[in-house]
Symmetry: C2
């Protein structure tokens, strides 16, 4: 099939690569490829560290997503000839005062209900695990479930892998037009299916059902990058500083990512005094050595939020699919999303774990996607191809 | 005369412009013109706000320097066709706690001894003067003596004015070689005199007497630029936050400069987590609205410190002059320095106020610079020119 993918962030790239690897002809459209939220992200693959009350479905989805990553990272590294910096130390969940500790105790219970083991470190253990942690933290919990990757290396590797698999990148902004796309100059690009993975820009892509585009809102995130020559921490440190959240993600090359704000400010992507100050204040409270690090970058991007914090993955119109609304979990859920979109496009049942991600859940009439509908709805397959599938 | 000036920061540019305007042939050498400390500076012309105990000579020099600025800014603006953003509101000296207030009371006495009027604002006045000030500050003192300029506009204007006056900029690194200079490629540039205004790089310029080059050390300064659309403050705010110093310099275009650290770290110009955090913490304590401002830039540069915090202005060898070591007062003292160097080069007595700036004070044998020595020591003037001078 000929498939147009809109958006070359981590999700769009993963989808495009997966589709092309499965034998489809893929064109990927983005006027600023890799420069959206994927460029700012911390690269946390941390369903445990990110677990929050009332988000049971997202936790399950995240844990399922994480299970895809070891193989995904290995295949990606091989295809791109580039190590994406997968770290397996896990997360330290830390709290500064008694109230933070009480919250973390509840998070432990929540994780336990999802089968995630955690270990509360005793008074002297934390700084043995991580000499960079501040002294006197009220609670330190270790979970080895979480992972992290270098987001920019992942994007770079996906670009290489996708290109090697035959994906053609078009540096232009497009809208959905039937099963294909149309550039802002009016040139139509015919295709058999279109997958929109436009992140926080989903609302700006014309030609999508209003209920889908309208379900995604931009959520501003500010994030810092610092650098040290000596290794400051090895785990992702996820903490509460008297109720204020922050995380610190270390890279093997000495980079430390400190994030991130979540601000309901529309399309504003200005870095602010408050954003930088608060991230440093909270980060330094957990890892004082951040003071000595080089301050490399402060950046802000819009992430695609949804009303229930779950992504939108699936069909929204005849031959039109969405892979969006990944909010804080774009990297974590990219492999799962790619597999799901491949299944949808090919008319196979998608992985069970994305059951909660139906884009129709915000008021769209359900779109016919049952197995077997493929031929009728989106099919351009030859009889030979169809026969092959049934073998 | 043909004069080589080494260093195209605010001091070197001012010197080069002044010399060229007086009719000399000037070549200005710098491999990164305008990109040193002058690029990072806040542009404070604040001998009152910067006054400190034990620096009587520097205060006098600064007050004399400030008196040059209105005319200098006017001439510069005219020559360059560019307004350099001279602000005349003055400084608010503020203290957060009782100890800060006590320090400010002593600073008021110090300023009073130098004839600088200050006014202690009563409880309600400060926020009437500046609605952007934090509530509850222990002490707020107004001095209308201080000024500020936009440092980058001044550098840009000086570049234009110097070029218009005939100064030729050579984008190369040079050392002193006799009365001229020599490039690192070994090309000699003959001149009748050389003026070294290399800022914190003075020590790296070969061919200077060791006692002079060695008197200048790099002092690292980190500084932030933020931006707001509404005017947050109109005065320079210079404060103590429980003993920690910070200043905030507003520009007419909404830029706010928050500075600056002073770190004895050699040539290190890395921006650090600590630098950014501390400047924001202190700045926000005085002007909370900094939180809402856009965070535009964090930058670090080396400033040229001297053992007594006074600059080095004058002859150091036959036909060799230094205009350096201006530390935190490069902009404030640039006009005075330019006049002094012109006088020295032309064999006239320099302005009285720079008496304390003799570069010989750190162990160099005094250099012959008495009026009348010009012809013998540095002269290449024609008889006609010499005659003209006596008229």
């Amino acid at each position: 099939m000929r498939i147009a993918v809109v958006g070359a962030g981590v999700v769009g790239l993963s989808v495009a690569w997966r589709l092309a690897a499965a034998g489809h002809d893929v064109e990927l459209h983005d006027d600023a490829p890799g420069q959206g939220a994927s460029h700012a992200a911390a690269g946390m693959l941390a369903p445990a560290g990110e677990a929050w009350f009332g988000e049971e479905e997202l936790i399950r989805l995240g844990l399922a997503g994480l299970r895809q990553w070891p193989e995904f990272a290995a295949r990606l590294g091989e295809a791109a000839g580039l190590d994406v910096g997968l770290r397996t130390e896990g997360s330290l969940l830390v709290g500064v005062d008694d109230a933070d500790a009480a919250t973390l105790d509840q998070v432990r219970e929540l994780l336990s209900r999802h089968g995630v083991d955690t270990e509360q470190l005793t008074r002297r253990e934390p700084r043995r695990h991580e000499s960079g942690l501040a002294p006197g933290l009220r609670r330190v919990v270790l979970t080895t479930a979480d992972r992290s990757v270098d987001n920019r290396l992942v994007v770079q590797a996906l670009q290489r892998a996708a290109a090697a698999a035959g994906v053609v990148l078009r540096g232009e902004r497009v809208d959905v037009d039937g099963r294909g796309v149309r550039t802002r100059d009016g040139d139509a690009v015919q295709a058999d299916a279109v997958v929109v993975a436009a992140g926080a820009d989903l609302r700006a892509v014309r030609g999508l059902p209003e209920q889908v585009a309208g379900a995604v809102r931009p959520v501003k995130g500010q994030i810092l990058r610092l650098r040290t020559e000596s290794e400051l921490v090895t785990h992702t440190v996820r903490g509460l500083v008297r109720g204020d959240a922050v995380y610190i993600v270390p890279r093997a090359d000495g980079e430390l990512v400190v994030g991130a704000t979540s601000e309901e400010l529309g399309r504003d992507v200005r870095v602010t005094g408050d954003g930088v100050y608060e991230l440093l204040r909270r980060g330094i409270a957990l890892v004082p050595g951040l003071r000595e690090c080089e301050f490399v970058e402060a950046i802000a991007r819009s992430r695609p939020g949804t009303p229930d914090n779950l992504p939108l993955i699936g069909p929204v119109d005849d031959g039109v699919f969405v892979a969006g609304g990944h909010y804080r979990a774009g990297f974590l859920l990219a492999p799962t999303t790619a597999e799901a979109i491949l299944a949808y496009v090919e008319g196979r049942p998608p992985p069970e774990e994305i059951a909660g991600c139906d884009p129709a859940r915000f008021g769209l009439a359900p779109v016919q996607t049952a197995p077997g509908a493929f031929g009728g709805a989106y099919g351009r397959k030859t009889e030979a191809e169809a026969r092959e599938e049934t073998i």
